[in-house]
Amino acid sequence: MQIYLPIAEMSVNVFLLLGLGGAIGFLSGVFGVGGGFLMTPLLIFIGIPPPIAVATQANNVIASSVSGSFSQWSRGNVDFKMGLILLGGGFAGSTIGVAIFSLLQTLGQIDLVINLSYVVLLGTVGVLMLIEGTRALLRRRRKIKPGKLHTHTWLHGLPLKTRFRRSRLYVSALLPFVIGFAVGILSAIMGVGGAFVLVPLMIYLLGMPTAIVVGTSLFQIIFVSVNVTFLQAIQNQTVDIVLALLLTIGGVVGAQFGGRFGARLPGDTLRLMLGILILGVAVRLSLELVVPPDDRYSLGIPS
């Protein structure tokens, strides 16, 4: 059954979209990430124009992070003070990100930048996760004691030090603001929530407890993706509601099954598998950049 997407101006099989939403939802349930980094490349792969894939995926991220954050909230796993500072940075970053997006679109370089950001980011995060995951596995085997819990670096010497009770931290407020800002830019350009960057940064750079990290990142991702969706709709008219709703329906169902499946796997195995998956996507996308294209010429958006 075909359905016509009003903004993308093309028709796609309904079951393909539901299935895509379901499969990515399942993976995001297993690994506890939004899955935007998989969904946006897949949408582009099935022929959705990249600007529409990115903006619509931001809309889809809202739904998945709302449903995920309710349970985190009820367990008290949200550090609101930290979340709000991240959010301040995230709002500023994503607003600038959408403006950059519009500019690149008029320059005709948006596809390249989307692709490059994916390769660089997924490549880095994937390699780091693989290293970390392998180390954790080895550690478990050899029963080596973990190193110092908390080390002091120059980051702790920054001004505006603030106490975050929920996270049991005393760090500079600039740190979460800058992290939020950087991830905000990424989420606007890449159409992702950014959890796969935000979560490692919150754990390793800020030193937040893992339990609090997931809830807090979901909390801030909701608001940043609301901002991105709204701005993309206003500036670029690239949000396809029909596409977003179909992906969301598939996604929420898939995420439930994925969540149950993931609960049975040990944490470090999960991280290792996620690392491999992320790296796989990065390799696939980098091929598109380096392999000579079939046709060097392509059409821009007509007016």
């Binding site: 059954m1 075909q2 359905i3 016509y4 009003p6 903004i7 101006e9 093309m10 028709s11 809309n59 889809n60 809202i62 739904a63 998945s64 992070s65 709302v66 449903s67 309710f70 349970s71 005709g108 370089q109 596809d111 390249l112 490059l116 609301v226 969706t229 709204f230 701005l231 993309q232 709709a233 206003i234 500036q235 008219q237 949000v239 509601i241 029909v242 977003a244 709703l245 969301t248 329906i249 929420v252 995420a255 439930q256 950049l289 380096v290 392999v291 000579p292 294209p293 046709d295 060097r296 010429y297 392509s298 059409l299 821009g300 958006i301 007509p302 007016s303």
Partner: protein, 249 residues
């Protein structure tokens, strides 16, 4: 809704204005469908063009979509990465082009006649201003534009066939793919004798989004802030519903 109604009225007006199956010098032609509606289930459609001629002759049918300004980009390898490095903008490019004839175009008329009437993709009147590109480069850009349009299914790859019945009746089928750009199209029917056009007729064809699709598109472009707010709200509600639905299980 008022928008789609307006589109329909406009279409009727146009049809009324040019006269439905207008006659000209022994030629009469019409379309099976003057209004193609793009609705939620739209997956492309075939429109039949049929008619009759008084005297034996050759037939050429051309269908053109509304003209647009079309940028074309060229990639080249920069430090190992393929990126768009050059860009040319073509003016007045038909968004859709279809051509059909009863026998190969080269047998029907001479090169100058084909070019003057823009019969065949290679004779389309799209050219870069000579100030921007000339000679070899200009041809390359032009060919690239046509090749990409053909890949999108919006330009015919080769001339389709017009079936002639008893030298008098003719018909041909025009395929409009699912990505066909909406707008006012022109279906032109030409009769040729001894390599010269002796009769021609133009029939309008309106392709427009109708119903929810049209409303959503119009809303997204006319009221972007409200559209964005609705998109956000719908996602928030969907997420909340999903949470309620699966909380107990």
């Amino acid at each position: 809704m008022s928008r789609s109604l307006r589109a329909l009225l406009l279409c009727l007006l146009v049809l009324g204005g040019t006269g439905l199956p207008a006659r000209s010098a022994g030629l009469i032609a019409d379309l099976s469908n003057h209004l193609v509606a793009i609705t939620s289930g739209f997956a492309g459609v075939d429109v039949l063009l049929f008619g009759a001629i008084d005297e034996p002759g050759d037939l050429v049918v051309v269908v053109r979509g509304p003209e647009r300004t079309q940028p074309v980009m060229r990639k080249s390898n920069v430090a190992g990465i393929w990126m768009n490095t050059a860009r040319m903008t073509f003016e007045r490019v038909p968004s859709f082009y279809f051509v059909a004839s009863n026998r190969p175009l080269s047998e029907i008329a001479s090169e100058p006649v084909l070019r003057a009437n823009q019969f065949g993709v290679e004779n389309l009147g799209i050219a870069l201003p000579s100030a921007r590109a000339g000679g070899r480069a200009a041809t390359e850009w032009r060919e690239a534009l046509i090749r990409n349009k053909q890949r999108q299914g919006l330009y015919v790859r080769e001339t389709a066939s017009v079936a002639l019945l008893g030298q008098r009746l003719f018909r041909t089928s025009v395929h409009l793919p699912s990505n066909v750009p909406p707008g006012l199209y022109r279906a032109e029917t030409y009769v040729l004798q001894d390599g010269q056009v002796v009769a021609a007729q133009t029939t309008p064809l309106s392709i427009s989004k109708l119903g929810v699709e049209a409303d959503l598109y119009a809303y997204a472009h006319e009221q972007p802030a409200a559209y964005g707010a609705i998109a956000v709200l719908a996602a928030l509600v969907a997420g909340w519903l999903a949470h309620l639905l699966f909380r107990r299980s």
